[in-house]
C-alpha cells in the first residue's frame, strides 16, 4: 500500500509540475464557459439585410421602421433594383433582401392585398429560414395592427409557455455539453496520453517490473485525473450558477454521483485507447478524431439528435456522452430525481462497466 501511495504521489507531481498543461487544464473549461455564455449562441440576431422599396410610401416606411428597430435585423443598405442582389450576396455581408412592390399602400387599401418578397441567401439554411420566419412574424404583426379595428371572428389563439428555460438562454443548453466535453477531454484524452507516454519513454516497463501490481499502476495513473476532472466539473457548475444564473433544480448530490460515473466511464475509454496506441501521437489522434469530434457532433451537445438521420441517431445512443448530457439537462434544468432518470443512469453504468471490463481484458493481453 505504501508503494502505491508513493507511486500516486509521483503521478501528482508529474501533473502539477507541468505548469503549462495545468494552465490549459483549468483554463480551458473557464474559457469555454465564458465563450458559450457571452459570445456563442445559435439564436439569430443583428442579421444584415437590404431593402428594395419600390413604393416608398407611408406604409412601407412604417414597416421598414419597425424592422429597423427590431434586434433581429440591421438594415445595411437600400438598393434600387434587383440586379444588385446577386452582387451584394456575393460579397457575403448581407443575408436577405426585402422587396416591397410598387404601389404598396394603394394595393393594400384598394385590393386588400399587397406583397413583400423575402429573398434570402440560403447558403446558411438556418439563418435563411429564421430570417424568413421572423420577417413573416413581423409582417403578420403589422397586418394584425392594420386589421385591429376589424374584429375577425372565430380566432384561435395559441398561448405558449416555455418551460425549463423561460428566457430562452442559449447558455443553458450549452453548459451540460461543455461539462461533458471537458470531462471527456481530461479523463479520456489525458489519461490515454499519460499512459502512452510512459510506454513511449520506456518507463512503463520499469513500473511493470516493480512490485506494484499492474492494476495498481493503472489506478495510480488514473486517480490524479479523477481529481482534476472533479475539480473541473465543480468549477464549471459554479461558474454557470453564479455568472449565468443557471439553476441546479435537482439534487447536487445526484449530479455529483452521475458525474463520477461518467468520469470513470471516460477514464476507462482512455485506458482502452492507450492499449491500442504505441505512441502519444497515435493516442492523441485517436482521442481527438475518434472520440472528441463524434462526441461534439453526435451527442446532442449543439445539434439536435432528433434532426439527424436514423443511423446517426442509433450511433448517438451508443455514445455515453449522449446519456450523460440527458442526465445533466434533467438534473440541472428540469430538476428531476433518480426516479425519472433511472433508465439513463442504468445505461451509463452498464456502459461504464463494459468499458472497464474491456480495458482490463485488453490490458492483460498486452502484458502477456
Amino acid at each position: 500500500m505504501k508503494r502505491f501511495i508513493g507511486f500516486l504521489k509521483k503521478e501528482f507531481y508529474h501533473i502539477f509540475r507541468d505548469k503549462r498543461s495545468l494552465f490549459i487544464l483549468f483554463g480551458m473549461p473557464v474559457a469555454q464557459i465564458m465563450l458559450f455564455g457571452f459570445a456563442i449562441t445559435n439564436e439569430i440576431n443583428n442579421v444584415n439585410i437590404a431593402i428594395l422599396d419600390k413604393s416608398e410610401d407611408v406604409t412601407t416606411k412604417e414597416i421598414i421602421n419597425k424592422i429597423s428597430s427590431s434586434t433581429y435585423f440591421t438594415i445595411e443598405q437600400f438598393i434600387i433594383n434587383e440586379a444588385e442582389i446577386e452582387t451584394i450576396f456575393k460579397k457575403g455581408k448581407i443575408k436577405a433582401v426585402l422587396i416591397f412592390e410598387k404601389d404598396f399602400s394603394k394595393n393594400l387599401i384598394k385590393e386588400n392585398n399587397a406583397s413583400v418578397q423575402i429573398i434570402t441567401d440560403a447558403t446558411d439554411p438556418n439563418t435563411a429560414s429564421t430570417i424568413s420566419n421572423y420577417a413573416n412574424s413581423m409582417l403578420q404583426k403589422y397586418q394584425q395592427e392594420v386589421n385591429k379595428s376589424i374584429e375577425i371572428p372565430y380566432q384561435i389563439i395559441p398561448k405558449s409557455r416555455m418551460i425549463f428555460n423561460q428566457e430562452l438562454k442559449s447558455v443553458f443548453m450549452f453548459v451540460p455539453g461543455v461539462m461533458t466535453i471537458i470531462l471527456m477531454l481530461v479523463s479520456a484524452m489525458m489519461t490515454s496520453i499519460s499512459i502512452t507516454r510512459e510506454k513511449e519513454l520506456g518507463t512503463m516497463e520499469i513500473l511493470l517490473v516493480s512490485p506494484l501490481k499492474p492494476f495498481q499502476v493503472i489506478i495510480g495513473k488514473v486517480v490524479p485525473y479523477i481529481f482534476l476532472s472533479i475539480i473541473n466539473a465543480i468549477v464549471i457548475v459554479l461558474l454557470s450558477i453564479f455568472i449565468f444564473e443557471m439553476p441546479v433544480q435537482g439534487s447536487l448530490l445526484l449530479l455529483g454521483v452521475e458525474s463520477v460515473i461518467f468520469i470513470v466511464n471516460a477514464l476507462s475509454l482512455g485506458i482502452l485507447i492507450s492499449t491500442i496506441s504505441a505512441t502519444q501521437q497515435t493516442a492523441m489522434m485517436v482521442s481527438l478524431m475518434g472520440l472528441m469530434l463524434p462526441v461534439i457532433l453526435l451527442s446532442g451537445f449543439i445539434f439536435p439528435i432528433n434532426s439527424m438521420p436514423e443511423i446517426l441517431q442509433v450511433i448517438s445512443n451508443v455514445i455515453p456522452a449522449t446519456w450523460y448530457i440527458i442526465i445533466l439537462k434533467g438534473i440541472m434544468l428540469k430538476g428531476v430525481g433518480l426516479a425519472i432518470i433511472w433508465k439513463e443512469t442504468l445505461i451509463l453504468v452498464a456502459m461504464t462497466l463494459f468499458f472497464i471490463a474491456l480495458s482490463i481484458k485488453k490490458y492483460k493481453i498486452r502484458l502477456e
Partner: protein, 373 residues
C-alpha cells in the same frame, strides 16, 4: 536549396512509413466528414409532440390531424391529464404538449374566440423559438380554414387587409444543411490535421533528441523549417482535394465558384496554421503540452469562427475579436466561393488579412526558433 529537399524527402518517408498514423491522418478525417456532415444540422424535425384532447370532437381531431401531417412534428402520444403529460416531459419522452380545452369547438362557435395552451421544452432556446413559430403557423392555417367555412358575409363588414409574403431561398433552394456544413467541416478537418501534425512533429524530435542533432549541423534555420513544414502543407492540400471530391460526389455540394481560387486561398491559409503549429512547438517541451495548447486555441478559434453558430449573433466585442481568427475567414471564403461563386474581388478583404497573418505568424515562428539557446 538542396538541403531543403533532403529534409522534405526524409519527412515524407517518415510520414508514410508510420503505419499507425496514416489511416488516422487520412481515413479517419474523411470518415468524419462523411458521417458528421449528416449530423450537423439545426433543422427542426421529428419534434416529440403530444396532446391532451379535452374536447374530443371531430373539430379537435382535425386540428390534431394537421400536426400529424406536418413533417416537423412526430405525434408520439396523447395524454389524459396534464399531470401525466408533465411527467412525460420531465422524462424527456415528449418536448411539446398541446392542450385542447374542453368545449373547444363549442366555445369557438359561440364566443367566436378560444384559446389553446402549448407547453414547450425550452432547454434548447433557439429550437423552442422555431417550434413555437411552426406551431403558430399550423394553428393559423387551421384557423383560416375554419374561418373560411364558418364566416357569413354578415360577419365581415370590412375585409381584412392581407400582406402576402413570398420567400425565396437562393443558392440552396432545398435548405439543405449539408450544403452549408460540409465546406465548414472540411475546413475544420484540414485545420486540425495540419495544426496538430506540424506542432507535434517538431516537439517529437525535441523529445527524442534528433532536434538537437539537427541544431548542431550547419543547416540554416529557414532551410530546416521550410523542409519540415512543406510536407504538411502538401498533406493539407491533399486532404482538401479528397474532401472536395467527397463533398461534390457524395453530398452534391455545388461547386459554383473557381476551384483555382479555393486552392490558392487554402494554400495561404495552411501556411498560417503551420506557422501556428511551429510557434507552439517552439515553446513546448513535450508532445503532450504541444497538443494541449494547440487544442486550447483550436477549440476557441473554431467556436468563434462562425462554423456552427453565426458571428452576427455575437456581441460586438466578440465580433471584433473574430477579426483575428484566420479560421473565420477561411470558413467564410470556402462557403462564399463554393456555394455562391464569389470572385477574387469579393473575398479580397479576407484574402489580404489571411496573407498578413501568414507572414506575421510564420515570421514570429521562425524568429522564435532558436538553434542556439
Amino acid at each position: 536549396m538542396k538541403t531543403i529537399l533532403y529534409i522534405v524527402q526524409k519527412e515524407f518517408k517518415q510520414i508514410f512509413r508510420n503505419k499507425a498514423m496514416l489511416p488516422l491522418i487520412f481515413a479517419l478525417p474523411l470518415i468524419q466528414l462523411i458521417i458528421l456532415s449528416n449530423a450537423a444540422t439545426f433543422d427542426i424535425k421529428n419534434i416529440k409532440f403530444s396532446y391532451i384532447d379535452n374536447d374530443n370532437t371531430s373539430f379537435s381531431r382535425a386540428l390534431i390531424d394537421k400536426f400529424e401531417a406536418s413533417t416537423y412534428f412526430n405525434v408520439v402520444s396523447n395524454f389524459s391529464s396534464e399531470k401525466i403529460a408533465s411527467s412525460a416531459m420531465l422524462k424527456g419522452d415528449v418536448d411539446v404538449i398541446l392542450e385542447i380545452p374542453s368545449y373547444f369547438e363549442r366555445d369557438l362557435l359561440k364566443n367566436k374566440k378560444t384559446d389553446l395552451s402549448v407547453i414547450i421544452n425550452a432547454i434548447d432556446g433557439a429550437a423552442a423559438g422555431v417550434e413555437n413559430v411552426y406551431i403558430n403557423q399550423i394553428v393559423r392555417s387551421f384557423n383560416r380554414n375554419a374561418q373560411a367555412k364558418l364566416m357569413q358575409p354578415s360577419d365581415l363588414i370590412n375585409k381584412p387587409k392581407n400582406i402576402t409574403s413570398i420567400t425565396s431561398f437562393w443558392y440552396n433552394k432545398t435548405l439543405n444543411y449539408k450544403t452549408f456544413m460540409v465546406p465548414g467541416i472540411l475546413v475544420l478537418l484540414v485545420t486540425m490535421i495540419t495544426l496538430f501534425l506540424s506542432g507535434m512533429n517538431i516537439v517529437r524530435e525535441k523529445e527524442i533528441g534528433t532536434l538537437e542533432q539537427m541544431n548542431v549541423t550547419p543547416i540554416k534555420k529557414h532551410q530546416f523549417i521550410i523542409g519540415k513544414l512543406f510536407p504538411f502543407w502538401v498533406l493539407g492540400m491533399l486532404l482538401l482535394t479528397i474532401g472536395l471530391i467527397i463533398a461534390s460526389v457524395l453530398f452534391n455540394v455545388p461547386m459554383v465558384g473557381s476551384l483555382g481560387l479555393m486552392y490558392l486561398y487554402t494554400s495561404i491559409y495552411i501556411l498560417v496554421i503551420l506557422g501556428m503549429g511551429l510557434f507552439i512547438s517552439n515553446y513546448t517541451d513535450t508532445q503532450q503540452q504541444a497538443m494541449f495548447i494547440a487544442w486550447f486555441f483550436i477549440v476557441i478559434f473554431i467556436l468563434m469562427s462562425g462554423l456552427f453558430t453565426p458571428i452576427e449573433s455575437m456581441p460586438q466585442w466578440a465580433q471584433f475579436l473574430t477579426e483575428f481568427n484566420p479560421i473565420k475567414f477561411y470558413v467564410e471564403v470556402m462557403r462564399m466561393v463554393m456555394l455562391k461563386g464569389s470572385s477574387t474581388v469579393d473575398i479580397l478583404p479576407q484574402f489580404t488579412k489571411t496573407l498578413v497573418y501568414a507572414i506575421v505568424m510564420n515570421g514570429l515562428a521562425v524568429w522564435s526558433y532558436k538553434k542556439t539557446t
